[in-house]
């Protein structure tokens, strides 16, 4: 073993700060809820739905990196796989939207179990490289396999009628569904993070050997966290496909894995609301910079560098620290 320099875990400073934050979490949740109910009156609903899908994706990603300390660089695999499966289910099998969502999410969960059990065999930096490599393997698979439509993707996916009652072709009902899915996913993650299970994840992040010596089976907890994260990422991907009626290679490419890292880092690793804030900012940025072409990549790279060098706790993390005095 080499002598390791003293390490600060990615979010240990942040989480202790937010734990002491006097603002009650329900205020923040209420403010977010009001924001999400009022903005559709002013903002283009497709934009909001896209941002909400990415917000759920980033929150799911954050459970791994912010609380378990596992930086996955292959999360696009779960977003994209669920997208392809639910698009295929809705279009080729003609399943109703609720079943298409379930099919996509289940596929992502199964994939999460497979990739997770491989990736947790190595720690630290290797974990990131393995997830990246396995996701790239899936990218090539989806590029070649016939059911995904290759470069064209699966287009014109029907939104359908939810439970045979709600016609999702109406923007209002589609927005309602996306909002409900986001809130449900957010609350599941919130509950997980603030449960004994979440505490064990933090213990593993901060000092794995000590947690193991206390009798916790590290691999067991990491795998559960990985599958949970993959499942909710898949739910986000399946929902996104219903919104855009398109499943494409963009969603499985490594740049998408990088984007979710960017959202979470910008908003604040290991904060509850950070990924949501980060997702809205990044999606808005892409919207406004779209005509600049590949400058978007340069700006995103710049944000990465600026975040790491100057405000590692992210926007929400820094705010929480300021409020705390």
């Amino acid at each position: 073993m080499r002598a390791m320099p003293p390490q600060t875990s990615p979010a240990s400073t942040t989480s202790s700060a937010s734990a002491r934050t006097p603002v009650s979490p329900w205020y923040a949740f209420g403010a977010m809820l009001i924001f999400l109910l009022v903005t559709p009156l002013f903002v283009y609903p497709i934009f909001l739905m896209k941002a909400l899908c990415f917000a759920l994706f980033a929150c799911a990603f954050n459970v791994l990196v912010g609380y378990a300390g596992l930086l996955s660089f292959g999360h696009a695999a779960f977003l994209g796989t669920a997208g392809y499966v639910s698009a295929y289910a809705a279009k080729a099998w003609g399943l109703p939207p609720e079943l298409a969502l379930v099919a996509g999410t289940t596929a992502a969960a199964a994939l999460g179990l497979a990739i997770g059990s491989l990736a947790i065999r190595r720690q630290g930096i290797y974990f990131s490289m393995i997830t990246l490599a396995l996701a790239q393997m899936l990218y090539f698979f989806y590029l070649q396999t016939p059911f995904t439509g290759g470069e064209d993707g699966i287009q014109a996916v029907p939104r359908g009628v939810l439970f045979g009652l709600v016609d999702l072709r109406q923007p209002v009902s589609m927005y309602g569904l996306v909002l409900a899915i986001f809130l449900a996913g957010f609350l599941v993650l919130y509950r997980t993070i603030h449960s004994p299970f979440g505490q064990i994840l933090k213990a593993l992040r901060d000092n794995e050997p000590r947690a193991i010596s206390l009798g916790y089976n590290a691999d067991h907890y990491k795998l559960i966290a990985f599958v949970l994260s993959a499942t909710l990422s898949g739910l986000a991907g399946a929902t996104k496909v219903l919104v855009f009626q398109l499943a494409s290679l963009t969603d499985v490419h490594w740049t998408m894995s990088g984007e979710v890292v960017l959202m979470t880092l910008l908003g604040g690793l290991g904060t509850v609301y950070g990924p949501v804030v980060g997702a809205f900012i990044v999606v808005a940025l892409e919207n406004y910079l779209a005509q600049l072409g590949s400058w978007v990549t340069v700006v995103q790279g710049g944000i990465f560098v600026a975040c790491v060098l100057t405000f590692r706790r992210g926007i929400v993390g820094e705010l929480a620290a300021r409020l705390d005095g």
């Binding site: 080499r2 072409g293 340069v298 975040c307």
Partner: protein, 293 residues
């Protein structure tokens, strides 16, 4: 053999050896940097691309050909790497490893984006130097001179790197500083400068690979983007514990990839990732990994 014409087989073997040469050089650079800095250099692919572009600039704007580029490009990129290390990476050594990964990932995005803005996604052709044009007819196959040169030269570079690290005084400082930087500093060796030089050398290796690649693949802003992911898989398979290990793994995986192109072309993109999966299942620490850490 197996109903495959031996021409095709040997041709793919040669291509595989060439790819393997690049895997070996790039994974070697990653391993050297990781050893001392504890950093996975995500910008390695972008730096490889920039090496090729420096060669192209030299030819386009200064009329300097391949041979000067082989020397100048690694030096330019090495200096660039040392500036990066002094101004940015230095501040991250006390933090979790993942911040180094995130920073270099951001750098890679920026560099690739900037070059793509300037030069588009299509490649710029770079001519094979006059001395290495043509090829040898070996009787059983045609061997282009430049490809033979790439394999021989990269093998020489890899072995020289191994020799410097394992057999020279400088290398012994390097290995000592990898084991215990504090103690080595107490002996009066300037470890921060050693770190800067090491990062510069690692980046220089990537740039050298870029110059070698320029006449084979075109000079393209995204030439390193997908390659670096394959190299990560190579690093996971070999483990970064051993210099010779990463050289052998690099060449071997290139050959395996070449053979896959002959026998089952559909899997040629994914075969290295499949091997990585199998290695993770059977020997989680990697083929040459020392401990699981």
């Amino acid at each position: 053999m197996f109903g495959i014409p031996s021409q095709a087989l040997l041709g793919q073997l040669l291509l595989g050896l060439i790819n393997g040469a690049f895997y070996a050089m790039l994974s070697l650079g990653l391993a050297v940097i990781f050893g001392l800095l504890n950093l996975i250099n995500f910008a390695h692919g972008a730096q490889y691309m920039m090496g090729a572009f420096v060669a192209w600039f030299l030819l386009q704007y200064m009329g300097l050909g391949y041979w000067p580029a082989l020397l100048i490009a690694p030096m330019v990129l090495g200096a660039f790497g040392m500036v990066l290390e002094r101004t940015m990476l230095r501040h991250l050594y006390q933090l979790d490893h993942l911040y180094g990964l995130l920073l270099t990932f951001g750098l890679a995005l920026m560099l690739q984006g900037l070059f793509r803005n300037q030069f588009g996604s299509s490649g710029q052709p770079y001519p094979i130097p006059a001395a290495l044009q043509g090829g040898q007819n070996l009787g059983f196959m045609f061997l282009p001179n430049y490809r033979a040169w790439v394999i021989a030269f990269s093998l020489a570079v890899c072995l020289t790197t191994w020799y410097v690290i394992e057999r020279t005084k400088l290398g012994s400082y390097l290995r000592a500083a990898t084991e215990n930087p504090t103690l080595v500093r107490a002996f009066g060796i300037n470890v921060p400068r050693l770190i800067t030089l090491t990062y510069g050398a690692g980046v220089g290796l990537a740039a050298l690979a870029g110059v070698l690649a320029a006449p084979i693949y075109q000079v393209n802003p995204l030439m390193g983007a997908d390659l670096i992911i394959v190299v990560f898989a190579v690093v996971v398979i070999g483990g970064m514990g051993s210099i010779l290990g990463s050289i052998v793994t690099g060449f071997a995986l290139g050959v395996v990839e070449g053979l896959t192109k002959v026998f089952y072309p559909q899997a040629s993109n994914t075969v290295i990732f499949v091997i990585m999966t199998i290695v993770l299942l059977l020997k989680p620490a990697g083929l040459f990994g020392r401990t699981q850490s």
